[in-house]
């Protein structure tokens, strides 16, 4: 029987920051299906936002307004306020821990412009900010190795919830196939997003909705799942991220006619409008036949920035262009297209990281969440760039604190270990015994295709209905997939199948949420309901799993300082 006071699932920025908060005098375990330094947080490039005012005078009030407006007024403003107010302290603490930042000539943390932010407040480390923070936190975890146990390459299958209280998780060791139950007083999910349901995505292969599905299965609704962000500058055909920082440094977006088309869509902010607006602009241009060579891509032109600036500020993405598409952005423009990037939705939490069933205001005792897998919601309908790294660290700390407080005063509950383990072992066996007439690869590709074309940047009723129908068909075919590897040792095929199962269900949830939200707001755009509808839809979607299928409830948006207004840039 494995017992820890607190167990954290996910070792990215949120997970590791939470661990540091708890480890001072509680027994903490961090579980990751990869290694901490492999977490997808490391792929973030552009920066982490805070109103430090190192480049231009700035204030948390401006950061708050930018975030709320960027979220198309779906953000819970009480949470946003605390989150942006905490930002400067969070950044300084990271720096004190040793995090490396690019600097101004007088030695302060440098800040650059970013989409949707009215001031340059993105603190960065060249174009590998996520990587810098990830490694800084990992270093701290190594420093605290005596008090934090890391379970590397362990997979989380399900949450153990009894009577509204979370008592642990059921996990398996990928390296040897053993299934275990971890008893815990507090469980924190920091499991990231689910962009892999889409064909073109910036997300790692590991971003597969495992955490959110475990929460759903435990009776917790998912909040705002229809809000998926498409990042404007994904590498054409591959989806690999080219940071918004490229535009922050002054890059242009050009259509097939060589025009800076953003003038039509966001004349004031141009390329630095929020991501949903830019992605829609790109998609509109391509749909109208104005893509480069009439094809499905746009040019990101950095040539005018010059070699020195690119080598200093954007060296990594320059190398990505060379390695993955043979284009050197110093000499030639980069071909880009919208790529599924961030999941605004997720496990509903309050502003302290406490998982809460919001339509009944019921906290799920002992269960916390932070980072991309959680929905507080600070990002509302659309996340501004550099706000996610901030979210992970701010709410990682908060969820850690909440989990710590809870665990300090709680006892271990009894868990029917045998029953929990058996359930998972039976799941494995069921997969191994399947019919074998279907190809998981085909099912996965079809899911990604239909989500991209029918639940992507532009959505409508007809396509969404087709999407849901297709997904349901795929879920049936999934039950007959062919397995080759039935072993115990490092059976990566088995885990890919489990992940696919989660993704098929998540995809259906996204599409269902999109079908039900008959308005356009932030990253969710309905061509049949192109306007924002504050009368009927200024509320959060809560998607439940019931025996009858998916059921939607709602919860209100907290509005404090900023009444919803027209969102133009």
């Amino acid at each position: 029987m494995i017992k820890h006071d607190v167990v954290i699932i996910g070792a990215g920025l949120a997970g590791m920051r939470a661990a540091l908060e708890v480890c001072k005098d509680l027994d903490v375990a961090v579980l990751t299906k990869v290694y901490p330094s492999r977490s997808h947080s490391g792929a973030a490039q552009g920066g982490i936002a805070a109103a430090l005012g190192n480049s231009e005078p700035d204030s948390w009030e401006e950061h708050m307004f930018d975030t709320v407006k960027g979220g198309d007024f779906l953000s819970d403003q009480d949470a946003v306020e605390e989150y942006v107010r905490a930002a400067p302290r969070i950044i300084y603490e990271l720096e004190h821990m040793g995090c490396i930042f690019s600097r101004t000539p007088d030695g302060k943390i440098a800040q650059r412009k970013f989409g949707g932010h009215s001031k340059p407040r993105a603190c960065f480390c060249a174009d590998r900010t996520g990587h810098a923070i990830l490694h800084a936190l990992h270093e701290q975890l190594m420093k605290n190795a005596k008090t934090v146990k890391i379970y590397n390459e362990w997979y989380m299958h399900s949450l153990v919830v009894d009577d509204g209280q979370c008592n642990g998780v059921v996990v398996s060791n990928i390296q040897d196939g053993s299934v275990e139950v971890i008893h815990a007083k507090s469980v924190i999910f920091c499991t990231g997003g689910y962009g892999r349901v889409y064909k073109i995505t910036s997300n790692a292969f590991a971003s597969t909705a495992d955490g959110v599905m475990a929460a759903l299965d435990a009776g917790i609704p998912l909040q705002d799942p229809e809000f998926v962000q498409f990042h404007p500058s994904g590498l054409y055909r591959q989806g690999i991220l080219f940071s918004e920082a490229a535009r922050g440094e002054g890059g242009y977006l050009l259509n097939g006619a060589g025009e800076r088309f953003m003038e039509k869509y966001a004349p004031s902010r141009m390329e630095l409008a929020p991501r949903d607006i830019v992605s829609r602009a790109e998609q509109s241009e391509m749909d109208a036949g104005r893509g480069v060579n009439g094809e499905g891509y746009i040019y990101l032109d950095l040539r005018h920035l010059g070699e020195a600036r690119i080598m200093e500020r954007l060296p990594q993405i320059r190398q990505l262009g060379i390695d993955f598409i043979g284009v050197d952005c110093i000499k030639d423009p980069l071909p880009i297209q919208p790529t599924a990037h961030y999941s605004m939705g997720g496990i509903p939490t309050d502003k302290f990281g406490q998982v809460t069933i919001k339509d009944t205001n019921t906290p799920v005792k002992g269960f916390f969440a932070a980072g991309e897998c959680a929905c507080v919601s600070v990002h509302g309908g659309n996340r501004l760039g550099t706000n996610s790294l901030l979210e992970a660290v701010v709410f990682g700390e908060r969820a850690g604190k909440s989990a710590y407080e809870y665990a300090k005063n709680a006892d271990f509950a009894t868990v029917n270990e045998a029953q929990e383990k058996t359930r998972i072992l039976e799941k494995f066996e069921d997969i191994f015994q399947r019919d074998g007439t279907e190809s998981y690869n085909d099912i996965r590709n079809e899911m990604k295709e239909v989500m991209m074309s029918h639940c992507g940047v532009f959505r409508d009723k007809q396509r969404l209905e087709i999407c849901i129908k297709t997904l349901k068909g795929l879920q049936e075919r999934f039950k007959k997939g062919k397995v080759t590897d039935k072993g115990k040792v490092f059976n990566s095929e088995l885990y890919e199948i489990l992940e696919l199962g989660n993704m098929l269900r998540m995809a259906e949830i996204i599409a269902t949420g999109a079908l039900n939200r008959k308005e356009s707001r932030g990253g969710h755009y309905r061509t049949d309901f192109p306007k924002r509808d504050d009368v009927n839809f200024l509320k959060h979607t809560l998607m439940y799993k019931t025996d009858e299928g998916l059921e939607i409830k709602y919860s209100p948006v907290v509005i404090t300082k900023h009444q919803p207004a027209e969102r133009t840039y």
Partner: protein, 313 residues
Amino acid sequence: MATFKIKRFNPEKQPEPYMEDFEYDVPDGATLLDCMNTIKWTMDGSLTYRMSCRSAICGSCAVKANGHAVLACQRQAEHLYDENETIKLEPLGNMKPIKDLVVDFTPFWDKIDKVKPYLETSSKPPEKERTQSPEEFRLIDDTSTCIMCGACYSDCHVLEVDDNFLGPAALAKAQRFVSDSRDEATLERVKNLSEYGGIWDCTHCGECVERCPKPARPFYRIKEIMTVALEKGVHNNDGARHALAFTSSVKHSGRLNENFLPLLSKGIFNIKGLLELVPIGIRMLLKGKIPPIFHKSVEDVDDIKRIFKKLNQ
């Protein structure tokens, strides 16, 4: 039609590894990782390897292709073919295979841990950020790009024969702190790194620089630590003495005094060390290979001395 010769290993099936071939028409622009995925997802689901980001930042997918470590997602398959349009895939070296191309990274992480890879400060931090100039940032810029992929560790020639060596990744990580202007433990760090298994055990083969998929280039980082160690007076070891004696020799005559160098490297009072040199000394003497005792300077040696002086050496 490209061929992938993959070294398979499944401890549940048989104790020995074996080679297996896969063939298919690789589309243009496919990376090695794309090929591995195609094989796994359409030909043999049991092919096992690590991968995640596919954009050269997470460091999961390092493997040996045709004998040299590469990051599978970063390299186009067609650039890796040998003359028979074949790629031989093996797990990373210097680490124990667990299954197929997955290896046990435990010793790798243990060594990272050994170099105390976190900022050490005793002074209280300021209210805001500690300042650091752009020049100081540049000293740790390259090493901080390391993604811990293990490619350098895999191909390190010293690790092949001496497992005690910390290895290129750990030493590059150490440099990130040795050269960080905010770290306050520099002297202690370079002292520890100058011990057996540290910087002076690097054989300069350049393999780690060649295999590093990022600008981290461990060997050059190791040299940077050496410079700091020598500056800080950590001289009581063979490697430091060797460097100092070498430089001093060139300062005096513009070239190497090969007779003095081994003696000074070991330390002229280091009887045990000097005794180690006796066998080779005798062999060289018997074959007339001892360099002339009377050591000549190069022509125009004064100009060389002038340069030394100008650089405060």
